[in-house]
Symmetry: C2
Subunit: 382 residues, 2 copies
């Protein structure tokens, strides 16, 4: 039976509600067995640092490391001065959160960064120079020529030259959440029929703007239901029972930075300068998981049934496509799940000769969209 | 100063909350002046019937008639047996709601129908045979060859042969809400550069599924915030803090009926069998207004600045496109408004030579998406 707290969290898409462990500095309820927990602490395993451990993604790093029994010799919990000194229990061991400094990375093999772009820009290269392999969840280095931008199921080869224990550090970038979720579904089809053009419209959750945005959505919703003016701190407009164009800065071409990430990151990850992508990114009042409506144009014909079979076999993808029962992926259903869900797989009748498909994709923004993908990258280093 | 009730309604997109007049059988607060109210009751004006007066759209019919000082000699309030006999005050006069029967339309010049497709199928032709001009908000007759499908700003010519006072009745269909809102923005651009293909993704409000769905969204949200299991009566899955593929039945081609309405109604309204449209219709936890992400492909090049100028001059359209301030249309902003708002107007870089645009459109589903458009059709008969 679920505890009220867990049920609550589940019902609002794993919302980082004040009542939820996800936002508070306390042990993550580990779903891994005591055996796997014991196994994960090993002398021959790498030493890890988590940068931004108190954030929503930082907390999810720990949750995913524990769930997947990621082996480690030691873990450094790094955060801002504000959190330094606080005690933190993880997998039966007590840790003290340390302030992130230039000396934090001595002897650290792998550092998982999710503390914002400016922290990554400052401390990522410092860590790499200490011989640490950095997996960075920010956008700081994603488009740098020398930095692999990796989705393990999509382009693992991009980081094949990076090894642990060579004393040589490196930077590896985690793609943007919308890109990861979109390409988890589009890549298996791209390999079969080559995508020429994608038209993407997103339905993005609060979690993409961090834990505070998730709290603001819940607070605003309570306020609105009580007939009060909603508190707008994170976003400058009402979010509850509303939606709006993604809050990323708008560039001179009229697209916002979130949209251009989908365009540019897709080209880099697919190593295809010619693939055409246009995106409209919208923030919807959903707590934790993103949805994306994706229209695909292919170089070769691709039948919807073959596409469905390809996606059913794709790693990290689950197909939910029940037309009779009108059951398709929803953000709630994929919240706190690892797999990206794909459905509404249908031949686009506005394109000739089976060269087009429409699909609908949902994925947990914090998990596969961020923490899980980063930990999977780290796993490839072992 | 707003009353708490009004404020509440405003904040949740004009939500049909139990506390909201929109759902209850009481006078609509008229925004028209006493003078215009007096003017609207005239002996030389047509007699009107409102079919489905107790529904969300039926209530909005009255609100719009009053706001626009629509002239009438008399109004019949028609509903199901359940509501028959109830007293109802509208523009200072008291009415008794009558049960809809085959005899309801004797002497009625114009009937506004919004009581569902089956009621329209049964009573629409009966009314037309009585010499009544029926403006039907259901999908019952939209694709019938002999029935004009009209957006007054788009294709008024389609109903030019229908006149009042000839004793000849007729059926006129109101397009589907998503089609109206999309074409209000796309048509002015279509006239200039001819749309070859549209890729539409919708963000549809609860109001499209009626008053009960709006109540269910509010109830579910309260339940979820209290950690309770949400009540699912109208929709079979959780709606609060979630979104899902539109609940319309899915057809053999994999598109649902809502999506195919956009495809087929666009062709009929534009009188263009060749225009290509593909749509993905999604229900989002917003109360009253729809949003649509529309990717357009044109036969001739169309510069985004010219497109913006065209839309600024388009009747019934307001442009909200502040890139510097990151301010664009939102459902909340257009709720209870007549105009459709368009923004995010930008050249689609995934298409060659300025032949593509991306736009984002918001419109009040109950107002321009239903009641207002129907009353505008009735105004063209005067």
């Amino acid at each position: 039976m679920q505890s009220p707290a867990v049920a609550h969290r589940h019902f609002i898409n794993g919302a980082a509600a004040p009542s939820s462990p996800l936002l508070r500095l306390k042990p993550i309820p580990s779903t891994s067995s005591p055996f796997s927990v014991r196994m994960s602490l090993r002398e021959d395993a790498p030493s890890i640092a988590v940068v931004g451990v108190t954030g929503a993604v930082g907390q999810e790093f720990l949750s995913v490391l524990s769930d997947r029994s990621f082996p480690y010799r030691s873990i450094k919990m790094l955060a801002s001065k504000r959190s330094a000194g606080k005690k933190y229990t993880f997998e039966d061991n007590e840790y003290v959160i340390e302030e992130l400094t230039a000396d934090s990375f001595n002897g650290v093999d792998i550092a998982l960064f999710s503390a914002g772009g400016s922290i990554s820009k400052e401390f990522g290269p410092i860590a790499a120079n200490c011989g640490t392999v950095v997996v960075d969840n920010s956008s700081a280095f994603r488009m740098d020529a020398g930095v692999p931008l990796v989705i393990p199921e999509v382009n693992p080869e991009a980081m094949s030259h990076i090894k642990l224990g060579t004393g040589k550090g490196a930077l590896i970038a985690n793609p943007n959440c919308s890109t990861i979720i979109c390409l988890m579904a589009a890549t298996p089809l791209h390999r079969r029929a080559k995508v020429l053009r994608m038209v993407v419209s997103t339905y993005q959750a609060a979690s993409g703007a961090g834990a505070a945005a998730m709290e603001e959505l819940e607070l605003q919703t309570r306020e609105v239901l009580e007939g009060k003016r909603p508190t707008c701190n994170i976003f400058k407009q009402q979010y509850a029972f509303n939606l709006f164009s993604h809050n990323a800065p708008v560039l001179p071409n009229g697209y916002n930075e979130e949209e251009m990430k989908l365009v540019k990151e897709t080209r880099k990850i697919w190593n295809d300068k010619d693939v055409k992508v246009t995106a409209t990114c919208i923030r919807v009042p959903v707590m934790r998981a993103h949805a994306e409506s994706v229209n695909l144009q292919f170089a070769s014909p691709l039948d919807e049934n073959e596409a469905r079979d390809i996606l059913k076999k794709a790693p990290g993808v689950v197909v939910i496509d029940d037309r009779a029962g009108n059951r398709f992926p929803t953000p709630l259903e994929v919240s706190n799940k690892d797999d990206v869900a794909v459905g509404r797989i249908r031949q686009d009748e506005s394109q000739d000769g089976s060269h087009g498909l429409d699909i609908f994709v949902c994925g947990d923004q914090i998990r596969k969209g961020a923490a899980l993908n980063a930990v999977q990258i780290a796993e490839m280093l072992l």
